[in-house]
């Protein structure tokens, strides 16, 4: 039998065992069994296995199973739902991020960088490494905008992880408890 035919036969056998064969494939498999004794034997073997496995069913442990498990449990699940230390640490970090963002925004809005519009950035140690001298100009505020954006994103992540998520989880659990 060619590799392609073998693969088709295997697929057909799977569908046959799982009861998902269409009429055409059923007829094809029956023809094949009539022509090839090895295929017939294989179908019979698989049928036997399939029926035996189906008959195996679920097994039952000893009657004291639950009792043993409950006796082995610690008093309460290990992780507290509202870890106070973690919340305070994250809240302090969040305050820091928001303070930095606030300061930068205040500087920008007070035109603190109005006089310094262009910054020449020169590659350091260019002489030492034998690199050609080159530099590029960047407006100061275009350096600061990404810093503000990163701070805002960081702030939101911290707010979500540190305060909102534990708070909602805590509320959900206590509602279920009541």
């Amino acid at each position: 039998m060619k590799k392609k035919d073998t693969s088709a036969l295997h697929d057909a056998l799977d569908r046959y065992l799982d009861g998902m064969q269409n009429e055409a494939e059923k007829a094809w498999l029956e023809d094949l069994q009539a022509q090839d004794a090895a295929v017939k034997q294989r179908v019979e073997d698989l049928d036997t296995i399939h029926q035996m496995l189906q008959a195996e069913g679920v097994m039952r442990p000893s009657p004291q199973f639950t009792q043993h498990v409950m006796a082995a449990l610690e008093p309460v699940p290990q992780v507290s739902l509202l870890p106070v230390r973690r919340v305070w640490r994250s809240a302090a970090l969040l305050t820091g991020v928001l303070a930095v963002t606030g300061i930068i925004i205040t500087w920008l809005s007070s035109d603190m960088f109005a006089g310094v519009t262009v910054q020449q950035i020169v590659v350091p140690y260019a002489d030492q490494w034998g690199l050609p001298h080159w530099s590029f100009a960047v407006k100061e505020k275009w350096l600061l905008y990404p810093v503000i954006a990163i701070n805002m994103v960081l702030g939101w992540i911290l707010l979500d992880r540190a305060i909102l998520k534990p708070l909602f989880q805590h509320r959900r659990v206590h509602q279920a408890w009541r």
Binding site: P61, T66, V69, M70, A72, P75, P77, V79, R172
Partner: protein, 184 residues
């Protein structure tokens, strides 16, 4: 997050009502034990592994992210715990053809065995992953996707393993029957 009625029970357990966990243990002990037994093939060890899995699940209940059903998460713990027990406690003997060998005592009693025992013996000759995929599939409690989550393998791989395991099982059964015929 998926909808699972067990999640309400989990909330109560996490809020301090430890006794509610007994409801979950009662509900899932049979499947947990069956999975452990299929991996370990020994009753006492399977029961210990299944109990150990429930204790582990309880200990890590707060970190369960509820992206799957509780039962799927639990069975994954059972499967991994049973594999750990097997690696630790049960040596596997390999015959010359690379298949796990039939223990001598079992070989001597082959002729007395019924169909169920032949299947069990043939199953022992499959590798762990194929045997587990086949077992979970035939327990009819699990979809291919759930089996994939429990065993940490893609669903397509599970499909292939089930297919391959059925063929291998048929071959192993034939070999066992031939061996029995030769001993008569």
């Amino acid at each position: 997050m998926i909808t699972d009625p067990d999640h309400v029970l989990l909330d109560r357990i996490l809020a301090g009502d430890q006794q509610v966990y007994a409801v979950l243990v009662d509900k899932y002990q049979a499947y947990a034990y069956t999975i452990a037994w299929k991996v370990l093939q020994r009753s006492a060890e399977a029961e210990e592994a299944a109990q150990d899995s429930f204790v582990k699940a309880y200990r890590h209940l707060a970190s369960f992210n509820r992206q799957s059903k509780f039962s799927t998460w639990l069975y994954r713990i059972v499967f991994n715990t049973a594999l750990g027990y097997r690696r630790k406690n049960q040596p596997t003997y390999y015959s010359m053809d690379g298949h796990p060998a039939v223990p001598a005592a079992a070989e001597g009693t082959l002729e007395k065995m019924d169909k169920h025992k032949y299947v069990t013996l043939a199953m022992e000759r499959l590798n762990e992953a194929d045997r587990t995929a086949l077992t979970l599939f035939y327990l009819q409690e699990f979809s291919l996707e759930e089996i994939a989550v429990i065993t940490d393998l893609p669903a397509n791989t599970i499909k292939v393993r089930i297919h391959r395991a059925r063929l291998r099982l048929a071959e192993e059964l034939r070999t066992l029957l031939k061996q029995e015929a030769l001993t008569l």
